[in-house]
């Protein structure tokens, strides 16, 4: 039942995409009908021409010429129409696919950060490229074909009804038989097609993950092991493909068979009815009465009637793949986005940088709490350092401040306003972040730095780069600031990447700053050189700093020692040293 509902739902949604482009769709249907009609006129004129040739009194050349010219004109116009149709279809399917890709991508950007932490990139890519492409090819090839064949099917049915009602009875058995059989098979095969798309997605996920690590794989010489593992997944994916095809393969030929069966029955029944009619068993007004010509016509129409149904059965498995693909695409589109801002969410006008974390508890999964009853107050312009062993929950505090995740209990307030009541965009705009994992995109160095503040001038960008001690390096690149950074390019080291992200932060004018291992990849001499600029950046801003270097930390206004999700100690360097707890032992260990 749910399966059925689901199928209908997907069909409806796909239909909506098509209907949104109704002018194109309508003209596509119109052009198909016109072009078909015209190509049917061709045989009519050729018949007339042949009649003129076969006249008993010799060939009527002028009639032949006239009809031949008409033929040529019909075919030419039909070809032009067919080409227009093809172009319309390309435009139609491209518009739909473009819209779908756009919708999918824009959706991705609204999803919570957690989604990306748990879903492999390769699978997401597979959906936006392969799955949508599958929908595309099904749309552009099969859609109009199906729509116009409905016209043919109904048309021939009407004609057959007029010729002989008893013979139509045959279809009353065979048509439901095809429909039932199709439904029965589809139901069986659908999960196989879904499985196939899923396995392909997993395969892509694995490929993506491994391709990001080619250098490590090379260093260990484990190419064969990894490709062996790839092949296991390849095997599973192709097996899923094969199973879908194997069971799907019965559908087309079986429906064909049912159609051919009805044709044979039509021939037999028609023959018998004709013989009985000929023998005078039926009155001419009887519904059973039929002439030889009537039988011949009925047979012709029944072939016309069967044609599209066969065609449809044959492309049905393409529909099945498109369906499963659409299902995967819609699943992202239906994914719960970051909860919308509350209706009465406030905009932040002026931010001083007063942050309160009040009795906050949080866990990424309910069974594993990470933070337990954490409370901190950060006054404007003060620096808060967060210290603690790996996995204690330092980065989690940052995730909550930025509302990448929402707290389970307790409250975070900014300027006294609960974070949940502030527009997310404004909240995030109030922070500038430099993270350990540097992120640059494919674009020029300039574009990557100006990302921090789009309206910055070149001079400002250059000044930021200078402050981050990366200007000299950039100028040494072939095209200076216009050098395009390729994602895994060799021409830039991790430290240099981090300096560029620091330059990006220098451009920002946000009143609060988050530094999460911001200089972990930068050598210490450079670090000292940019320290001055960093101090400048931190001046007047509320800062949250996670760092390894105790020298960075010891000047903080408030040092939080996070142990096991709780704040074990807090205070200034002097206070904590005096207290003689975890911090002081850590600090003293460096001189040990």
């Amino acid at each position: 039942m749910t399966e059925k509902k689901n199928t209908k739902g997907i069909l409806l949604r796909l239909g909506k995409y098509v209907l949104r482009e109704w002018p194109l769709f309508l003209s596509a249907v119109l052009f198909t009908l016109l072009s078909n009609q015209l190509s049917l006129l061709g045989p009519k004129y050729s018949g007339a021409a042949i009649d003129a040739i076969g006249l008993s009194g010799g060939t009527d050349f002028s009639a032949v010429r006239e009809n031949v010219i008409k033929m040529a004109v019909c075919y030419a116009i039909s070809a032009v129409l067919a080409y227009f149709l093809a172009v319309i279809m390309v435009h139609l399917s491209q518009r739909i696919v473009y819209a779908m890709r756009k919708q999918l991508f824009e959706k991705l950007n609204t999803l919570p950060v957690g989604y990306f932490d748990t879903h492999p990139t390769g699978d997401i890519i597979s959906r936006i490229s392969y799955d949508i492409d599958t929908i595309n090819s099904s749309l552009s090839h099969d859609l109009v074909q199906v729509m116009t064949s409905v016209y043919t099917v109904i048309g021939s049915l009407v004609f057959m009804w007029n010729i002989s009602k008893p013979m139509i009875l045959i279809f009353a058995f065979t048509v439901p038989a095809s429909i039932l059989f199709t439904r029965y098979r589809s139901k069986k095969v659908r999960p196989l097609f879904s499985e196939r798309s899923k396995k392909l997605g997993e395969l892509n996920g694995f490929a993506e993950e491994m391709l990001s690590g080619t250098r490590s794989i090379e260093a260990y010489g484990k190419q064969d092991v990894i490709s062996g593992r790839f092949n296991e997944r390849n095997e599973t994916a192709m097996e899923a493909y094969y199973r879908a095809e194997y069971y799907g393969a019965t559908l087309g030929p079986s429906v064909n068979f049912i159609n051919n069966l009805s044709m044979s029955l039509v021939a037999m029944l028609g023959g018998i009815l004709y013989m009985l009619s000929f023998g005078g068993k039926f009155e001419e007004t009887s519904i059973f009465f039929i002439t030889l010509g009537g039988v011949a016509q009925f047979v012709q129409y029944s072939r016309k009637f069967a044609g599209p149904i066969n065609e449809f059965a044959n492309i049905l498995h393409e529909f099945q793949s498109a369906f499963s693909a659409a299902e995967r695409v819609f699943r992202i589109i239906d994914e719960e986005p970051e909860p919308a801002d509350a209706q009465d969410a406030q905009s932040l006008e002026h931010v001083e940088g007063f942050v309160e974390v009040d009795d906050v508890s949080f866990g990424y999964t309910p069974e594993k709490p990470i933070l337990k009853n954490v409370s901190v107050t950060a006054k404007p312009g003060k620096t808060i350092a967060i210290v603690g062993p790996t996995g204690a929950g330092k980065t989690t505090i940052i995730n909550l401040l930025m509302r990448f995740y929402d707290v389970d209990s307790g409250e975070i307030r900014l300027e006294g306003i609960p974070a949940k009541e502030i527009k997310r965009k404004d909240l995030r705009k109030a922070f500038t972040m430099v993270l350990q994992d540097t992120w640059l995109f494919h674009g020029t160095v300039f574009e990557n730095i100006v990302y921090g503040r789009e309206n910055a001038t070149f001079e400002e960008v250059k000044a930021a780069a200078k402050a981050a001690r990366i200007d000299k390096y950039i100028e040494s690149l072939p095209d200076g600031y216009n050098t395009v950074l390729s994602d895994d390019g060799v021409n830039i080291s991790k430290g240099q990447r981090q300096l560029i992200t620091i330059a990006r932060a220098f451009l920002s004018d946000a009143p609060m700053l988050i530094l999460d291992e911001a200089t972990s990849n930068v050598d210490s001499r450079t670090e000292i050189k940019i320290q001055e600029a960093m101090n400048e950046l931190m001046k007047g801003r509320t800062c949250f700093v996670i760092a390894h270097r105790l020298s960075t930390i010891q000047n903080a206004d408030n040092i939080l020692v996070v142990l096991d999700g709780k704040i074990a100690e807090q205070g200034t360097h002097e206070e904590l040293m005096k207290a003689g707890g975890f911090y002081s032992s850590l600090y003293n260990s460096q001189f040990a």
Partner: protein, 572 residues
């Protein structure tokens, strides 16, 4: 396209059988209309019911045969295309892993990824459709043509005259079509790149509220892709109408000419009528062929892209060098220079040697060439000049296997994947539990692994996103030391470890793996301070060499680094 044939070759027997079954099924199906005509024309007139039923049953038998034949053939086709793409994709992926670093850079990862995915699918689709639809149409075409020749050779020749035009059209469109689809695939690469970047940088994007900017950035590549697809579609859309038109003009010419031949008594009107009917059949076949042809064009573009990767020559070569083993100069660089872009040297005239079991530290500013040293030693890149030797032999004299077997590496770009902790340490090597535990212990990772819910069987998130930076580094170090390699390279791989842990790690390396030569690339003096030899690099040149104590005296830059880190210990 040639390589497609080589991939299909192993399946030629199966394909031949499937093909024959398909032909038989198709012929059986093609009989149906003839029997039908036969019943209408000859049988009904006899008024004998049993004859009608007889022929009706014959029809049903033919239909059943067609059905069975098609099902079997389609299944065989599915099997062939499955095995075919499995093999092709496997080879492609394997080759991708074996590409040299510079080849990978040249192709770019998003492009390699879309070659493994969408391009293989395109080729796969074609191979599978070719087998399903590529039989009936040619039979109809050839059958129709030969029957028409049989009926009236003169008129058939007129029809045949259209074929050269069709071929010219097909040829010229395909010549334009393949590059168009190559462009489409290139746009797919770009789209994949943006999606990939966004999923990786989602935190930064959200932090800076750059949704609109990213949407615009994506829109640009999306539009481009749509544009290229439209372009290709518009050109390829002309194939079918042009082919149909040419065929139809052919039949028009047949009718026109038959007017004269009939008048002269060479043909009869009946043959002309039959001719026209066969012609309809033939042009229907042509429609299918034109669709196959469009798919072929798309497939050819993708096949070229796959072939491009598969045919990339392996830049790894092995030379002869049977110099005696040299334990004293176990690792030696002699006057090595190297540049990534050929513009400015990233390493210049570097000479250094390390004894077996010795330790080498390399320190220097960001971009000074530290990592380049490690990459050259592992032969990820070839040095431009100078010699690099391991155990007395030039590194180019080792096979790929021999070379990598000597190394244990923790690289700067940490690579962890969604699998168990155990597997991430073993990394495809056959290591016992003891060895893995020991490695974790050396890497100071034991404690946090034991705290994980399933310990060594704990599955980590893709790219290790659910571990902290320090935990990730420890796993990578455990991986590097697990197989007790001859050479351990730690490239900036303990930067997230606290001072104490780092010191414990160094000590463990020293005692547990005393036979291994350890190369430490670092920014922290504390990480290299105990090394037997330390190199200070600046802009690719050695500006200081010696032990920690010596360097403090002789190298002001080193002293400056050291001083800057004094009292600035690192905590985790």
């Amino acid at each position: 396209m040639k390589f497609l044939l080589t991939y299909l070759k192993p399946f030629r027997n199966r394909m031949a059988v499937g093909f024959s079954i398909k032909v038989a099924g198709t012929v059986a199906e093609l009989f149906l209309p003839y029997i039908l005509t036969h019943i209408l024309d000859n049988v009904i007139g006899t008024l004998r019911v049993e004859k009608v039923i007889f022929w009706g049953v014959v029809m049903i038998i033919c239909a059943a045969a067609a059905c069975a034949g098609n099902i079997i053939a389609n299944r065989m086709a599915a099997k062939t295309s499955k095995d075919f793409s499995k093999k092709m994709r496997k080879d492609l992926f394997e080759k991708t892993l074996y590409l040299s670093a510079s080849d990978t850079d040249r192709f770019t990862i998003p492009s390699l990824e879309s070659r493994i995915t969408t391009d293989t699918y395109n080729v796969h689709n074609f191979v599978s459709m070719m087998q399903r639809m590529g039989v009936r149409a040619p039979i109809l075409l050839i059958g129709g043509l030969s029957i028409s020749f049989f009926m009236d050779a003169n008129l058939a020749l007129v029809m045949l005259a259209t074929l050269p035009f069709i071929f010219i059209t097909v040829y010229s469109i395909s010549k334009n079509g393949v590059p168009l689809y190559s462009k489409v695939q290139k746009s797919v690469d770009n789209m994949v790149r943006v999606v990939r970047e966004d999923t990786q940088g989602i935190r930064v994007i959200k932090a800076l509220s750059k949704n609109d900017y990213e949407n615009r950035r994506y829109d640009a590549v999306n539009l481009e892709l749509s544009k290229e697809e439209r372009k290709a579609g518009t050109i390829m859309g002309s194939v079918n109408p042009i082919m149909t038109l040419l065929m139809n003009l052919g039949i028009t010419a047949v009718v026109a000419i038959s007017a004269f031949t009939v008048a002269k008594g060479i043909s009869t009107p009946a043959t002309v009528i039959a001719f026209v009917q066969y012609f309809t059949l033939i042009s229907m076949a042509m429609m299918v062929i034109s669709r196959i042809f469009v798919m072929y064009t798309k497939c050819a573009a993708s096949a070229n892209r796959i072939a491009e990767v598969l045919e990339t020559p392996d830049s790894f070569f092995v030379t002869e060098d049977d110099s005696p083993a040299d334990e004293e100069k176990f690792i030696s660089f002699e006057n090595v220079s190297f540049s990534y872009l050929g513009k400015k040297n990233n390493l210049e005239n570097l000479s250094v040697s390390v004894p077996k079991g010795g330790t080498l530290g390399i320190i220097g500013a960001t971009g000074s060439g530290k990592s380049t040293f490690a990459k050259l030693l592992m032969r990820s890149y070839e040095a431009d000049s100078g010699k690099i030797k391991i155990a007395g032999r030039d590194i180019s004299s080792y096979s790929r296997k021999e070379l990598t077997a000597m190394f244990g590496v923790a690289l700067q770009n940490d690579f962890l994947y969604a699998d168990t902790v155990r597997e991430n340490i073993a990394f495809g090597r056959e290591l016992s539990d003891d060895e893995i535990r020991r490695a974790a212990k050396i890497a100071q990772a034991e404690e946090f692994i034991e705290a994980l819910p399933e310990k060594y069987d704990h599955v980590i998130a893709p790219k290790g996103t659910n571990l902290s930076g320090g935990q990730r580094q420890r796993l990578l170090i455990a991986r590097a030391v697990a197989a007790k390699p001859d050479i351990i390279i730690l490239d900036d791989s303990s930067s997230a470890l606290d001072y104490k842990t780092d010191a414990a790690l160094r000590k463990a390396l020293d005692t547990e793996l005393s036979g291994s030569t350890v190369i430490t690339v670092a920014q922290r003096v504390s990480s290299v301070k105990n090394c037997g030899l330390i190199l200070v690099l600046d802009n690719g040149k050695v500006i200081g060499r010696g032990t920690h104590e010596e360097l403090l005296e002789t190298c002001p830059e080193y002293k400056e680094i050291s001083d800057s880190q004094m009292g600035g210990a690192f905590i985790d």
